[in-house]
Amino acid sequence: MVEKRGFGTIFMHAVLILGIAIVCFPIYLTFVGSTVTHYDIVRVPMPLVPGPHFIENYTNALTAGINVPVGRMLFNSLVMAAGIAVGKIAISILSAYAIVYFRFPFRMLGFWAIFMTLMLPVEVRIVPTYEVAASLGLLNSYTGLVLPLIASATATFLFRQFFLTVPDELVEAARVDGAGPLRFFKDILLPLSTTNIAALFVILFIYGWNQFLWPLLITTKPEMNTIVMGLKQMMPSADDYGNWPVTMATAILAILPPVAVVVFMQRLFVKGLVETEK
C-alpha cells in the first residue's frame, strides 16, 4: 500500500462490502425463497428475511420434488459431473503421455486431430451431435450424458505442457534402472501429476455439473434429468401453479456442491482455472 489514509481504507472496505452484498443478493434471496411458503411469495412482496419452513421445503424437494425427487436429480448430476471429470482426465493423460514420450508415425496428425476440438464447444454442433448420440442408442443413459462431453482438448493440452517441464533425467534414470514406459508412467509421472490432476478435477467437475443444453436434449425421461436442467422444468409457469419454495430449495441444492468445491478447494480451483486457460 502506497498511501495510508484512515478514511480511504474505511471507504474502500465499505464499497467492497456493499459490492459483495449486491453480488450475493440473488443467492441470498433464493435462499429466503426456499424457507417461506408458496403463498408468502405469490402474495407480493415476499419477505426479505428467512422464514421458518426450511426443513419442510427441503425435505419436500429432496423426497418428492415436482416431476421427480430432487435427490434423484442430484444423483444424476453427481454421476455426470464425476464421469466427465474422471473420463476426461483419464483419456487426456494417456494421450498426452503418448504424444510427449513417444515418436511414432502420424504423431502430429493425432495431436492436431485432438487439438481441433478446442475450437468447437458442444453448443455449436448440437444438432448433429444429438443425432449421433441418438443413433448409437445413448438417449436417457449415463453414457450419453458423459461421453460426448469428454471429447475436448483442454486437458490433453494441459498435461502435455506439464509433461514437457518434467526433467529428461527422470526418464534416463528410469531406463537405466530397467523401467519400461508403463512402469515410468505409473511410478513416476502419475505421482508427479497429482496436483495437476486435482486442480483439473475441480474445474471439470464444475463444468460437468453446470451443463444445461446437453442434458436437456439427451434426457427425455424425468428420472434421468440432472438438477441444473430439471430446475428449469420446475419453474412455475403461472402464479397459481407449481411451488416456488420447492423450486428455490432445488436451486440452492443445485449450486451447493460446486460452491462447496470452489470455497473449500479454493487454491486448487484457482490453479485449475488459471492453467486451463493458458
Binding site: 407480493v44 428449469k232 402464479d239 436451486a251
Partner: protein, 293 residues
C-alpha cells in the same frame, strides 16, 4: 518443444492415444462432418429425403431478416455482457488489491458465484425480476417504473444481460486481481513519490500494465457471451419477447429442435464454427505474443 529422451515402442503409443481419438472421432469429427454435409442439403417437406443444394442454405440465411437480426442481438448482448462484467470486476479487483486486512475474505466471497450455472443464474434473476412475483420487480413498480420484461424487449434484454454479466464477474475478478498483484509495487511507489494521485497512477501505470490480462479476458468473455449463455436465455426469456433476445446459439437450437429446419440449423452451426475458429486464432496469436514479453 520436443522431448530429447523418449521410449521405443511400436504399439503402445497407439493404444494410449486410442481412447481419446475414438471419442473425438465419434463425437466431434462425425457430427462436425454431418453439420457440414447437412448445411448443403435441403430436406423435402415430408422429411423423407434431401436434395443437394450447394450453398443455398447460406444464401437464404444471409437474406433472412431474422438471422441478421440475431447477429445484431448477439452483438448487442455480447458487448454489454463483456463491458458490464469486466468493468465491475476491475473495480472490485482494484479495491481488493489495495486493502490489506480481509483481502482473502473478500476474494472468497466474490469468487463463489462462479460456481453457479448460467441456467441457475437465470432462474435466480427471474425470481427477483419476474413481473408478477419478483420482489425487486414489485419495488421497481412501486417506484413508478413500468416494468414488464415479458412484453418489453429492451427490458428483457437488460435482464438477460444483467444475469449473464453477474455470473461472469467472479471469473474476471479473479484474473484481474492476479494481474494487479503481479504489477511491481516499486513502480507504483515511484509514481506516488513523483506526486501522481490514485487515478493518475491507475490510468498511466496500472491499466497499461494490465492490458495483457484485459485482452485475454476480452476474448474469454466474448466466447462466454456467444456460447455459454444459452442457459440464461432459455430459462429467462426463451428468446422472446418476439425474437428480441434470440442470440445465434439460441437460434441454432430453436431452428434445429423446435422448428425442425435441419438444413438451416446446420448452416448456422457451420457459420458459428467459423466464428469460434477466428476467436481461437486471435486468442492463440495473443498468447504467443505474451510469452515473448
Amino acid at each position: 518443444m520436443e522431448k530429447r529422451v523418449t521410449f521405443d515402442n511400436r504399439l503402445l503409443p497407439y493404444l494410449l492415444l486410442a481412447p481419446q481419438l475414438l471419442v473425438t472421432i465419434v463425437f466431434f469429427f462425425w457430427p462436425a462432418g454431418q453439420a457440414l454435409y447437412q448445411s448443403l442439403l435441403l430436406p423435402d417437406p415430408f422429411g423423407l429425403g434431401a436434395r443437394f443444394v450447394w450453398f443455398s442454405n447460406f444464401e437464404y440465411l444471409f437474406n433472412d431478416r431474422y438471422y441478421l437480426q440475431a447477429f445484431v442481438t448477439t452483438a448487442v448482448f455480447t458487448f454489454f455482457v463483456t463491458l458490464v462484467s469486466m468493468t465491475v470486476a476491475l473495480f472490485f479487483a482494484v479495491l481488493a488489491d489495495q486493502v490489506i486486512k480481509g483481502a482473502g475474505v473478500y476474494k472468497t466471497l466474490l469468487i463463489w458465484p462462479y460456481a453457479v450455472a448460467p441456467a441457475v443464474a437465470g432462474v435466480m434473476w427471474l425470481f427477483m425480476f419476474q413481473p408478477s412475483i419478483g420482489v425487486l420487480a414489485f419495488y421497481m413498480k412501486a417506484l413508478g417504473v413500468n416494468w414488464n420484461p415479458v412484453l418489453d424487449s429492451t427490458q428483457a434484454m437488460t435482464l438477460v444481460i444483467a444475469a449473464a454479466a453477474w455470473k461472469q464477474i467472479s471469473y474476471n475478478f479473479l484474473f484481474f486481481l492476479a494481474g494487479l498483484q503481479a504489477i511491481p509495487k516499486s513502480l507504483i511507489e515511484a509514481a506516488a513519490i513523483d506526486g501522481a494521485g490514485r487515478w493518475h497512477r491507475f490510468r498511466t501505470i496500472i491499466f497499461p500494465l494490465l492490458s495483457p490480462t484485459t485482452f485475454f479476458l476480452l476474448v474469454v468473455n466474448i466466447v462466454y457471451a456467444f456460447f455459454e449463455t444459452f442457459g440464461v436465455i432459455h430459462t429467462m426469456t426463451a428468446g422472446g419477447p418476439g425474437r428480441s433476445t434470440t442470440i445465434l446459439v439460441y437460434k441454432v437450437f430453436s431452428d434445429g429442435f423446435v422448428g425442425q429446419d435441419l438444413g438451416s440449423s446446420a448452416a448456422q452451426s457451420v457459420i458459428l464454427m467459423v466464428v469460434v475458429g477466428l476467436l481461437t486464432i486471435i486468442q492463440f496469436r495473443f498468447i504467443e505474443r505474451r510469452v515473448h514479453y
